[in-house]
Symmetry: C2
């Protein structure tokens, strides 16, 4: 829609209908669309900060590239008419006032920090699209009932630092962690303009926030392989990690007959297959992964005496994770008995609990997608997101768009401009629906 | 037997029989026995060089401890009446002349260098027992027909350096290898009194050697678990090594559904189990081992995209190794097809061919054991030994004695004094049988 068409609508609305809630007429609001070219252009511009020759980005939180990208983002926010501030946790917040004086804010956004050797869409799309929504509303002089806040969370990839500060769960220990930038999280927050000594100031009260909504690339291949436009996220899966230790007897590979071995790696192989079988033999979208393995002593001519490997289980239901783990434990007991080894499990701290999205938010996103003529499906988020923190204090929703080939955290990460625009339009109309009272 | 008894035999023989072949009478020779206490004492004394607080030894070839231990061994050789020389490869050779002027020598011995954090019996027993045999013959003034040579091979654990020089297969590249001592093999040989520029001088002509025989601890648990006194070694197994590479797709463990994965570690687990099944499902004493494994990128939350692991196969028959490998290759093809991965094998240089012992030598050793009232059994040597080189130029035999628990290359390595004495007595009487013409 161009500006001239818009004014026709506005004049039409003013002449025909009751006093409109916004400067736009209702019909005009429904027809609002983001600018696909501008999103694509800004995604490419943002990727120059920390950009690598192979098309990826090296822009870990608290790096110089991160700081430069944040300055770029702040300039875009100002262009979109947002009042920008940095909170104590280093989150960038661009605020647009609403018509109502004391209404809570609708928050939306994502992050711009990246994993080492990452891609240009993870996080970035959610931020650029959020600014685009604000800019479209600004350009069309749409006055919303609620204040809107575009948020860029600090250090998402390093452990959801910004969103944990907002919900009040960022511990002093987390501040001591040395991030990929080489700086501690504490020093990093200071480096990007926050104040780690006053983190309490970054905390938000639930009654201060109407809702939170995040657009993100799927990072998996479900939407892309099925040709679905939009993923309506049911929740962010819980993640449990264990170290699995298998102890046998290290021995000379030449002098120890096959029937006298207690080969820890052979038992580990049976465990890896058992994990896969247990996770896949029940219905559902749970996943289980052994990603790391170490055999000791690790020489070609020595039977491994000890293997330590990782076990990760993810699902939307904590109960299901526990039930899968119980089955894996009993499989381990059987394998240990049959192989003469000992198998033990050590839970690892990195565990996160499942964070379901708000069912009303799912309906709002689905309705927005439907209104835009887009196909959509419910799906879990297998990856962690700031939305999982926000879900603990406010109605939260997440929108996914297809990742080509399901590739993520890689320079090959790619999402088509059309899919980015679809996601941004769903974000825009979800915000408008919430503003219009869909949550009330 | 004490010296007085001995003299009675000798006088008896002189008064009764024809001119004896040796200073001893035949009956006296059969009754010759090593001194078990002296063997045990010397094993303990030798273990002081590079001895560690946990009862093991750190005495890698070309270390100061190696040099000190060699000086100790040379002193024992001289005490046993041997004329000592160091050849160009650093081998210590203690020679005792025979009665015949131009007869070839009977060689016997082993090595005294150890693996890092090794035990006190591996190699050491073969050397101490060889000197004991010479000393018993010296003390009893037994004059053999053939010259006897006690040999201490240099740097056995680093790749059979001394014996390869003797058979002429020590390459210039092998001299460049940096040994555990930190010195190159070339510098190491110089350090222990050899001359790496004149290695050809160390080479022995086949017609210069009557036979070679080596006593060694089994390093496996076969003799110990069956309660057998003596192992008559059928040969040293051939060893083939491969690097096995499994390539799948590295992907996000949270966002990639189970049915869309190409998990290289899951495929590797199937390979490890297949190797075990292929090796154990045919009769025989072949062994197959996966001892080393690396999964990339190796993070708990990333599906492994690439696994590299070792494959080792050992058997007395090179044909059997090739046939096992062919079966493993076709298993790999099946697993790759089922898992959507690619599996490839890269042969590794460390391969060694099977070295059967001389059937006559096996009979000589078996007869010696039987004559001593010891139980014995035929068995392969799963570990490599200098005997495998010597077998290429001269009739070679090997004697094994039990390793408690089959433990080797470890401070817990242990062989009982009685078993060491049994092995030394079998060595002594095998030498005497060869000297008496059992090979002719």
């Amino acid at each position: 829609m161009n500006d001239r068409t818009m004014w026709i609508f506005v004049l039409l609305a003013l002449s025909l209908g009751p006093a409109p809630q916004t400067l736009c007429a209702q019909g005009a609001l429904e027809d609002l669309r983001v600018n696909p070219e501008r999103i694509e252009l800004r995604i490419q511009e943002l990727s120059q900060f920390g950009g690598t020759s192979n098309g990826g980005v090296d822009r870990v939180a608290f790096s110089d590239a991160d700081v430069q990208a944040r300055e770029y983002i702040i300039s875009l926010m100002r262009e979109a008419g947002l009042a920008v501030r940095i909170d104590a946790a280093g989150n960038i917040i661009g605020r647009r006032e609403g018509r109502g004086a004391d209404r809570p804010s609708i928050l939306f956004g994502s992050h711009i920090d990246a994993v080492p050797h990452g891609g240009k869409y993870d996080g970035a799309l959610g931020v650029i699209a959020a600014i685009e929504c604000a800019q479209v509303l600004h350009e069309h002089e749409v006055a919303t009932r609620h204040p809107l806040e575009v948020i860029v969370f600090s250090d998402e990839e390093g452990g959801l630092v910004g969103s944990r500060a907002i919900i009040g769960t960022l511990t002093p220990e987390a501040l001591d962690v040395v991030s990929h930038s080489g700086k501690s999280v504490r020093d990093g927050i200071r480096f990007i303009g926050g104040d780690p000594d006053r983190l309490e100031d970054a905390r938000r009260r639930p009654d201060d926030i109407k809702a939170f909504i995040e657009l993100h690339i799927e990072q998996g291949a479900i939407l892309n392989s099925r040709g679905t436009d939009i993923g309506v996220v049911e929740g962010i899966v819980g993640i449990n990690w264990w170290d699995v230790t298998i102890e046998g007897d290290a021995n000379h590979a030449g002098t120890t007959p096959m029937d006298q071995r207690k080969d820890a790696l052979l038992a580990a192989a049976h465990m890896i297959i058992a994990v896969n079988r247990v996770v896949t033999e029940v219905p559902g979208r749970q996943v289980g992964t052994v990603g790391r393995i170490r055999a000791e002593p690790g020489a070609p001519n020595v039977i491994p005496g000890r293997v330590v490997m990782s076990l990760e289980l993810r699902d939307l239901s904590a109960e299901k994770i526990q039930s899968l783990f119980a089955t894996i434990e009993s499989e381990a007991e059987r394998i240990a008995g049959e192989s003469g080894t000992r198998v033990s499990f050590t839970p690892i701290h990195a565990t996160s609990v499942p964070a379901p999205t708000d069912p009303r938010m799912r309906q709002i996103i689905a309705a927005a997608a439907e209104g835009l003529g887009l196909t959509f499906q419910l799906m879990p988020s297998g990856a962690g997101h700031d939305a999982q923190d926000m879900a603990r204090i406010t109605p939260t929703g997440m929108i996914f768009v297809p990742s080509v080939g399901g590739i993520s955290h890689s320079p090959e990460e790619y999402t088509r401009p059309g899919d980015m625009a679809n996601g941004a339009n769903v974000l825009l109309h979800s915000i408008l629906k919430i503003d219009e009272g869909a949550l009330d």
